[in-house]
Amino acid sequence: MSDIPIENFLVLSAVLFGIGFYGVLARRSAILILVSVELMLAATTINMVAFAAYFDHEAFTGVIFAIFIITVAAAEVGLALGIVLRIFRERRTAYVDDASELKW
């Protein structure tokens, strides 16, 4: 279908993963951290699908995994938002570094 080498997709996913990771670490808002997590998940999904498309022409296991990743990611977002809402209601903030009781 195309003559694009697989490296292109892989590097793209690596860069996307790095950006997502940066977001997870840099952001304060729980919602934005979730956003960054979504980016990381998308990066891994790209990786899986690329490998499946290039090297797994019979079974396409990577694609199946991508489907599962998307499913679980949806569940995760829903649940995480529930937790964020709860925290927000308890302490009037959605900033993770305000929740710092987990020390000494």
């Binding site: 080498p5 590097v11 670490l25 919602i31 790209i46 499946a52 498309a53 079974a59 949806a74």
Partner: protein
């Protein structure tokens, strides 16, 4: 209920924000698209490559927007753009089904969910400092990780194979025959997550007074 909706900053700003985001994205992507088209016309690259680079540009720019933009709503919308780009990559990789799913779930469901989260947590009222103090370290780690993984992936001597289109029938058979049990478990996970989210986020009865106060104060 109406009162509650009025407290939310989002609806009033929605059109403005969407238009702004779209304009910025367009402004950034358009030059790239023009360059790619020119290269295509002069037969320097194939059409597939044009699509790839375009999608890649959209993804990277969207992702950068998602992690860099100070406005939470902008960042979230930027995520949507990036995830739509990912859908394009799926198309390139011959997985139309995944592309559809990506658009439907991320472009629709997840984004809406996130925006609702924003609304309910009064994100608009929060100070604009959305990044933590450890941003430089985060930057370093991000670069480091992307670099290491990227170098490792490129360093590998991959076999030269063509992309194969995943037929829907194959996917169906794989999903419902070989991965039947995980599929069912995934559905269970979804419902548990749903119930769990409701249970966690639900307002307890004794918190009703709290709500009244909240309404009075705002």
């Amino acid at each position: 209920m109406l009162e509650l909706l009025e407290r939310i900053p989002f609806p009033q700003q929605l059109d403005r924000i969407v238009i702004f985001t779209g304009l910025v994205a367009g402004a950034l992507v358009t030059p790239i698209a023009i360059v790619l088209l020119a290269l295509l016309i002069f037969d320097e690259i194939t059409a597939a490559e044009v699509v790839f680079w375009l999608a890649a540009a959209v993804i990277i720019l969207g992702a950068l927007g998602a992690v860099l933009l100070p406005n939470i709503v902008h960042a979230t919308l930027s995520l949507v753009i990036a995830l739509l780009g990912v859908a394009g990559i799926f198309l390139l990789l011959g997985s139309e089904f995944l592309a559809l799913v990506q658009v439907l779930i991320y472009g629709g469901g997840v984004t809406v969910l996130l925006l609702f989260g924003l609304m309910l947590t009064n994100a608009g009222d929060d100070p604009k400092v959305t990044d933590g103090a450890q941003k430089p370290f985060a930057f370093l780690v991000g670069i480091l990780l992307a670099g290491v993984v990227g170098v490792a992936l490129v360093d590998q001597d991959w076999a030269k194979t063509e992309v194969a289109v995943a037929p829907f029938t194959t996917l169906g058979e794989r999903l419902f025959r070989d991965f039947g049990a995980p599929f069912e478990i995934a559905s269970l996970v979804l419902i548990v997550a749903l119930i769990g989210a409701v249970a966690v986020a639900r307002r307890d009865r004794d918190e009703d007074d709290d709500t009244v106060e909240e309404g009075e104060s705002s």
